[in-house]
Symmetry: none
Subunit: 420 residues, 2 copies
Amino acid sequence: MNYTAEIIAVGTELLLGNIANTDAQDVSIALSELGINVFFQTVVGDNVERLKQAVNIAKSRANIIITTGGLGPTFDDLTKQTLAEAFGKKLILNKDVANTIMAYFEKRLPGIKMTNNNLRQAELPEGCVVFDNGVGTAPGCAFESDGTHVLMLPGPPRECREMLKTCVTPYLKKLSESEIHSHNIHIFGLGESAVEEKLRDLMENLQNPTLAPYAKTGEVMLRLTAKARSASEAEKLMKPVLDKVRETLGDIVYGVDTGSLENTVASLLIDHGTSLATAESCTGGLLSKRLTDIPGASNFFFGGLVTYSVASKTTLLGIDPLLIKEKHAVSREVALAMADGARSGLGADIGVGITGLAGPDGDGSDVEPGTVFVALTTNEASFCRRLSLSPDRDRTRAMGASHALDMIRRHLTGLRVVGE
Amino acid sequence: MNYTAEIIAVGTELLLGNIANTDAQDVSIALSELGINVFFQTVVGDNVERLKQAVNIAKSRANIIITTGGLGPTFDDLTKQTLAEAFGKKLILNKDVANTIMAYFEKRLPGIKMTNNNLRQAELPEGCVVFDNGVGTAPGCAFESDGTHVLMLPGPPRECREMLKTCVTPYLKKLSESEIHSHNIHIFGLGESAVEEKLRDLMENLQNPTLAPYAKTGEVMLRLTAKARSASEAEKLMKPVLDKVRETLGDIVYGVDTGSLENTVASLLIDHGTSLATAESCTGGLLSKRLTDIPGASNFFFGGLVTYSVASKTTLLGIDPLLIKEKHAVSREVALAMADGARSGLGADIGVGITGLAGPDGDGSDVEPGTVFVALTTNEASFCRRLSLSPDRDRTRAMGASHALDMIRRHLTGLRVVGE
């Protein structure tokens, strides 16, 4: 049997934009791990007519319908009634669930009288499987009708996530025959469209595994996904594609399943027993922030200096003010001096210096906003990249930090650090 | 004319759960500010047939259709073709847009040959209004057909958000008869449910204006929105509610329409002509990163030291190693010494020191993960807050930085800096 799922999130707060639909994301992740296709997600408010409409559409194109939200005790919680009716089921008071809810109230809120509407949470579609709510009162449930499986989950993200893990995945695993396995291929140094251009022939002809690109600031991730009866069979399907991608893209692939660039760099620094110190101007601490996002960063990160003012470059890094005057604070020479200053000041193996004009405005000199110099120095070598970016403050800063990480990675793995 | 909007987000990555649908949230917020109803949000993959199906359903129940995603240069970017076809429009190469894209490439990536697929981004439905993309290459657009307005926005959240502000809101405002005006009330120091509890009576009885809470890490924002025929009429409706909120919440309201906490602090520092230096341990540069997010930060931010290792606290801040040994690196005394070290080292008016154990793991000592000390010192005064947070690394770091900003704000505005 081939399953197609559709997710319906119920809640007016989603339509007002009060919260992001993280429930749909969590359900999608769980389904994609099970190899179950999701073709549509829908969001509908707390409104019986419109929910009915969404359910009828979903019925026509999916055989697994998963709803989130609208299971609570209040009058606008209408999911169970509406779904039961749509599939010709009655709601019946489940005594076990009613007892659990009463016990919950007695235990958590002694002395507070439970209102009757709380018992509405114990009314469930006849013949359903009850999904216990480990972290709240409203249970979820699942029933089958004419080959369609309907699963209803609570809306609060913590409750939904917990129920996905403990109830939904086991329920759906029983339905599914094949497994899904995937690899994430991480790329820095080429934009999304250029990556796709290089891989177009490969991507267009793939059925299983599939290869899909995801872009984030300055980076591209390719997800390679295979459907098979076992992990080893999936790996066998993915291996030649992974090899081909590596061969085509070369050393701009910085890792497979390694997480972020900072994660990769952190692992490399730890493996090499190499220590790092940073001096940041335009990035204002973003590089050190990203490095210290990694638990255990104290093993390699000796410290950082955010020398945002000209004076601080002199005070903290010992840079000759004449050099800054002569070459400009945003220059190759100052970036290199910053890297050296951080490295010697903190006694680290590698020093990184970043100076640039993040913009949006210029500083009155010839330096264009969006210009960034990123330098890396060690005892033996020194490198500097010059970036000419669009004068978008956030992006310029993000790219400055990412280029620094890329230079560290290249230096530690024996690749060419600057230029092609 | 009464408008009902439907949002269609296009992207397989959403159906796989790779990202949350924040675009739909952002669009919903923008529409709700304009007083336009949204009854459905749909997510569909990069698939022509299913996108067509979603568009046809949306056509039958809404007269504003807003899509996000699928405007890029790659072969799976199909939104424009599909929407144009659904409404009987041709795609035509827009020369102005093509020139802009070519100029963009020439300027940003000199020497790199633009691939032809990038020009596909300049093919737009005949007779459409072009929405310039301020932060990327793919333009958005809008057209009207038989009373239905179709608006297409790019998928990358940054581009979508920017286009909502600069193009979509002005476009839709022209359709609407009444004006919507709003104020954002920014709060730090109380959680969302506590804020709601305090304001419950007020919020429940409001019709126009409305008051809606939005939570982000450690902060709450209340959006006050009024619908009226003019700005001054809207202000008249909002004034008493705004006064009541301020009266109820007191000095935890850090600003109205002031943007982020760092924005507020930056303005205060500039107004007071006060300079700042920071020393960060567990936050690893996050505070200085947030301060330097603000253009013009060099006017008040003299510099920052990221003293992630014990040695760097001694080397860079001149802290007596015995003090660290005796009191522990995560202690009130060390936080204060860090603030003093940064202040005197950089010659700034205010010094801030943050030291903590972000977790998730402990360091073998008595200090609990989630413990953070935030110190602020000046020539005359010194303050230190002790935070006991849950051992969630990202949250602990974010809260440490936010508390530092809150302390600076309180110090500069003559409020009590520590304790209640």
